[in-house]
Symmetry: C2
Subunit: 244 residues, 2 copies
């Protein structure tokens, strides 16, 4: 059977969606916002299901809509004419693919499915309207935009000035931290659906070299990846390897 998708919403609303418990959807719908409305935000499309390795959103589609990942992992990608791929970020369940798209009219980017993905698009104008009366949600959005930019800056520093092993260690820590925020990390083990090629394309390296690095990390008792799970064996050593 194909890799399972988390329980899908049955209607066209978000009722029953697992992503309500995490990320921005949680902030939107419930998290301690005395100014939150009980109803659902304006939804413009049915939820879509996309199998792994396929395109979730096309850059040109996002002119008037704000894309959201409801379940599964995505990858924001850029392709060069040569066919090379650079991954810019991994949107996780409950997250806007790119929070700045709420404000921007600029060009967006393609998004691919790492795992099977359920996704939605919201009407940008309506999202903006909904923000107006809800300062705390607006603040959360701003924070997320800033975080998106900061993550890119960190990635620039990684690609510009850090060795391959350090980059890998930092990516792992970054993902664990984000999954932790989303209540998706338990103990030292996380779901880790990324292929070695994803890691390579996110870090400006090649799959072959990533493979060697992952083996080094396993041999050194730092972490290991098996069966789409990542298990941290020695958190201290991992932080050391990441210079963090």
């Amino acid at each position: 059977m194909p890799a399972e998708l988390p329980q899908s919403a049955t209607g066209m609303g978000c009722t029953g969606c697992a992503a309500r418990a995490v990320g921005l959807c949680r902030a939107w719908l419930s998290r301690g916002l005395e100014d939150s409305v009980p109803g659902l935000p304006a939804i413009t499309q049915f939820e879509r299901a996309v199998p792994a390795r396929r395109l979730v959103f096309r850059a040109s589609e996002c002119r008037d809509y704000v894309p959201v990942i409801c379940a599964g992992w995505g990858a924001v990608v850029a392709y060069l004419p040569s066919g090379q791929r650079q991954i810019l970020s991994f949107p996780l369940p409950g997250e806007f693919v790119s929070p700045s798209l709420i404000f921007a009219d600029g060009p967006a980017r393609d998004v691919e499915a790492v795992t099977p993905v359920r996704c939605r698009t919201f009407d940008r104008t309506k999202v903006r309207e909904q923000m107006i009366g809800r300062p705390k949600f607006l603040k959360k959005i701003f924070e997320d935009c800033f975080e998106e930019k900061e993550r890119l800056a960190e990635l620039v520093i990684d690609l510009g000035r850090r060795r391959a092993e350090e980059r890998v260690a930092r990516l792992v820590l970054h993902l664990m931290q984000r999954l932790g925020k989303h209540d998706m990390a338990s103990g030292g083990t996380i779901d880790f659906p990324l292929r070695q090629a994803h890691i390579a394309d996110a870090l400006g390296l090649t799959p072959v070299y990533i493979n060697q690095i992952l083996q080094n990390f396993r041999d050194d008792g730092i972490f290991e990846i098996a069966n789409r799970k990542l298990r941290v064996l020695d958190p201290v050593k991992l932080h050391l390897a990441a210079n963090k």
Copy 2:
């Protein structure tokens, strides 16, 4: 004599500042905004002059203030424990160092002076207040925030997936385009105060290698740098080298 600073404002206001003609300051003060106010925005500090190679803003200083470059070139930098430097962007005259700092309470970054720099800080709260009644200026700010993020994304792609020569060519084109917007590019020649070490640290390379690349470009009749000026010899070849 030291490299000259453009005409400085004499009082504590922006009256007479050359940067009024360019960039965000222009948008703020005059550019076709029927909702612009004739007065000056709220200024919290006298203009400061900083000699080349010194720190213009410290990351920790920017908690409540929004830094602006009035004259000269800056460099937003990050240092690793090893002492390695990565340059994230080059703020130009009339630009906010980082437009997103208007909204963000997050951590900022150090800014160094590439040339001698005149700079100012604005009170963040007052800048926000001023935006409220001026939708066009607000829109411009959002656009700049988006552009800031997009430039970082482009840099990630450069550092991750492009060869050194391509990176250099793209940096040159990027700077020419931005200087053009600011009316600071005339013909195929621009002021180019960057040292080879700046280019290296912006592109994740080393000064020695940058030196070799610049010579290749000169020998190939693409562009040349001399006396802090960059002269494009063959725009077509330059675009070709940049894959743009």
